[in-house]
Amino acid sequence: MMQSERELPAGARIALAVVLSVVLAAAVLALSTKDFIPALGQFFFEPFANRYFFGNYIADSVPLMIAGLGVLIAFRSRNFNLGGEGQIYAGAIAAGMLALSLPEHSSPVEAWLFAALAGMVAGGLIGTLSGILKGFWHVSEMISSFLISAIVLNVGDYLITGPFQDPASNFQTTRQVSSQLLLPRILAPSKLDISVFIGLALIVVFAVMSKHTRPGFELRVCGENEEFARYCGIPVALYQSAAMGISGALYGLAGALIVIGPQARVMRGFSSGLGWSAISVALLAQNSEAGILPSALFIAYLKAGSDHVMIGSGVPSEIISILQAAAMFFITARHFPIRKRRRP
């Protein structure tokens, strides 16, 4: 008689969202440029056209992987880290200051380690602060992380354009990090460097941690039901603080790797939008570490494709933003198609 409704599997939902956003991208391009076919080619194929474009595309996905992982860890404990922008900035500035203060002949490996560590500590401290406020005093982590980030961004701007401004440059930027201290490039002449391996390794480590270790399990329980976690004797406040701290540290690391990698300096406002894109990545990954890799690649692909169209066909960047927003909308629209709660 009547057919019962069934839920689409998560994978199919995501696939549908991706297809819809790609179709929408094509539609937007058709409306906004006369050279539709070339624009389409620039959008979809140019990121893969040569070593240079491909390498740059992958390089742009690396901070998204690492920061996206950070958002995911916070999500696990049911916390929204909205301070990513500031945490990336803080990580970048800490790493930059450290790298700039090192003597010319320092060992590069040590420099990388210290810079990465400095970035993680800076971002981690800021994240932990929100976590502690939430865990022990019930201050909304969304508000505190966002506001703290706003402060950090301004302090960062001051540091870059004030005490650390490169006197020889017309741009608002710090001095350049000595080229021996930068991460080795792969796939020259693109800006891709070995940080991509760090990103991949972190995804594997976190995936294993969450599935196969006790802290991973306990964090999941905390996120799913706080009262139940307390019943089980899990220190909820500690996990909340730690999750926000790790989240901040990963953001900070993402910032630090940009400074000792492609950018080689800290430019004012370089991280603008990166923190938010990382949230998109985590949402798209649907609470799965393994999902971070394709999500980061997809979001970076949208950006790379739109950059190419912007340069090649003069489509304004606002149109591109609409496109990205619409893609996110499709992906986060959780109720399409029908989701039903079942209970026999």
Binding site: M1, R214, E218
Partner: protein, 517 residues
């Protein structure tokens, strides 16, 4: 005249493939109270959800007042005059009683202009609420906020909400599971009144004595199928119990526990005071109690008399303002809660929460994750998860407690009864604690599961555990406890041995504060 006729109704849930209804049939006469009984997971609720438009059947036909219908949605069911009062009430806590009853039907001061917002006529809203409450004999304050109401008053609001919509076929899902003895009696009077006014009432329940008391006819369901429909006048409680369980030999229900010669003192509380933090809870004042090894102490109270606060204090969720306890010879100040919490964490004290939907389960996790979460350390070897061990032990526990679920299933898919059985299975699958604190252990369970749980409790007692049962179910306390304590307004008004002159009525007097020692 037949109000509802359902034939050959089947429903299978995906992806678990569980057959909730298998060619079930139902015939309900107009103007009658019709009970549907069966064990947890027998398919009663699913069948009613189909009737109320909340689930679509895979197969089968439905006739309402003789007309064949395809019920597509709850709105469609309401058009046909069918309304359902759920086990867990769905209402707006921040709106008033009247606003909740007439939600969507609010009287307006100016006739509504299509496409524009109307102006609420508050006075006539309150008047209408008073009128409908009086018509059916309910005593409700129309201006009270729904969130402040007691559970039985919330239920009345739910019922009136259906009646205000002129729904003449009312489905009540386990209506008495949240009510006390007195509230149940009051509800039954109201239901009889509603029947007298010509409405049809369908009650889903597993309490046979209530069926005998209120229903005209009863349909028994087992494993998704309809066993049969019987006139109450022509059947007995024992016959029904046999039909529900599907066994021919129905031995009498559990015997009273033998008063055991109990062992040494295990747990003692002195001068425990805690401020209530629940709606309308009074907290507990200057409580003292003692439980020995091999003894069951039952603490009984009506809702709002401190039982929930006592549970929270003993469960480590509420820091008392005063008092200490002696556990196994060592004294702990209750205000230094972390020391007491260590006992819970180490498993020296086993605690079964009464709130199974929030505190004792994370519904979004799998059955296995919930099963292993409490005593999780044994499932991790040097920090690494031993997943085969966890799955195997979960499967064993599911089998031994007869829970129809798979370890990988999401817990939210389980019925309320199975969730409780899972919580109990978890508690009894580890080494027996010295002290067990069991709160409403069989709330919402069917007869067979209740029997099973009671047997486990008595086994634990025989094995030397000290057991503290906190329950608002007098029958349960009488069936299990060696000594009984009654709380009224947060104070102990009775502490006596079970047996002798103590019976249900007598305890009822203490529960209501009519008597005190």
């Amino acid at each position: 005249m037949i109000a509802v006729r359902m034939r050959g109704v089947s429903k299978r849930y995906f992806p678990s493939g569980i057959r909730a209804n298998d060619e079930a049939t139902l015939e309900v006469e107009r103007g009658s109270i019709h009970a549907i009984v069966g064990e947890n997971g027998a398919g009663k609720t699913t069948l009613m959800k189909i009737l109320a438009g909340l689930e679509l059947p895979d197969a089968g036909t439905i006739e309402i007042e003789g007309k064949p219908v395809h019920i597509q949605s709850p709105a469609h069911a309401r058009e046909l005059g069918i309304g359902m009062v759920h086990q867990h009430f769905l209402m707006f806590d921040d709106l008033t009683t009247a606003e909740n009853i007439f939600f969507g039907l609010e009287p307006l001061r100016v006739p509504k202009i299509p496409g524009l917002l109307g102006i609420l006529d508050r006075r006539s809203l309150v008047e209408q609420a008073q009128r409908i409450a009086a018509d059916y004999g309910f005593a409700l304050d129309p201006t009270a906020h729904a969130g402040d109401l007691s559970i039985s008053a919330r239920q009345q609001v739910e019922i009136l909400r259906q009646l205000a919509r002129n729904l003449h076929i009312l489905i009540l899902d386990e209506p008495t599971s949240v009510l006390t003895e007195q509230e149940t009696a009051a509800l039954f009077e109201k239901l009889a009144e509603i029947r007298r006014m010509g409405h049809t009432i369908i009650i889903v329940t597993h309490k046979i004595d209530e069926v005998m008391q209120i229903a005209d006819r009863v349909t028994v369901m087992r494993q998704g199928k309809t066993v049969g429909t019987y006139d109450i006048a022509a059947t007995t409680a024992n016959e029904l119990a046999c039909l529900i369980m599907g066994t021919n030999a129905c031995e009498e229900m559990s015997p009273r526990p033998q008063p055991a010669a109990h062992g040494p003192l295990v747990f003692e509380i002195e001068g425990l005071s805690a401020r209530g933090h629940h709606h309308g809870e009074t907290g507990v004042t200057d409580l003292r109690l003692a439980v020995h090894a091999g003894e069951v102490l039952g603490v009984c109270a009506l809702s709002g008399n401190g039982l929930a606060d006592l549970e929270d204090a003993l469960g480590g969720f509420l820091v008392p303002s005063k008092g200490f306890c002696i556990f196994d010879g060592s004294r702990l100040d209750f205000r230094r809660m972390h020391e007491y919490r260590q006992l819970l964490k180490k498993g020296a004290i086993g605690y079964l929460p009464s709130d199974r939907m929030r505190r004792s389960m994370a519904l979004s996790l799998t059955v296995r994750d919930n099963f292993m979460a409490v005593s999780r350390t044994r499932f991790f070897h040097r920090g690494w998860f031993r997943s085969t061990l966890a799955t195997r032990q979960t499967r064993e526990a599911l089998r031994s407690f007869e829970i129809s679920a798979q370890p990988e299933q999401k817990t939210v898919e389980l019925s309320g009864g199975n969730i409780q059985k899972l919580a109990i299975a978890r508690l009894f699958s580890i080494q027996l604690p010295k002290l067990l604190i069991l709160c409403e252990p069989t709330w919402g369970l069917d007869i067979k599961s209740t029997e099973n749980v009671h047997r486990r409790i008595l086994d634990a007692k025989a094995a030397g555990s000290a057991i503290l049962i906190l329950s608002s179910d007098v029958d349960e306390i009488l069936a299990l406890a060696d000594r009984i304590m009654v709380l009224y307004r947060g104070r102990a008004v009775l502490l006596a041995s079970n047996g002798g002159g103590l019976n249900r009525e007598r305890i009822g007097e203490y529960l209501l504060g009519a008597r005190s020692e």
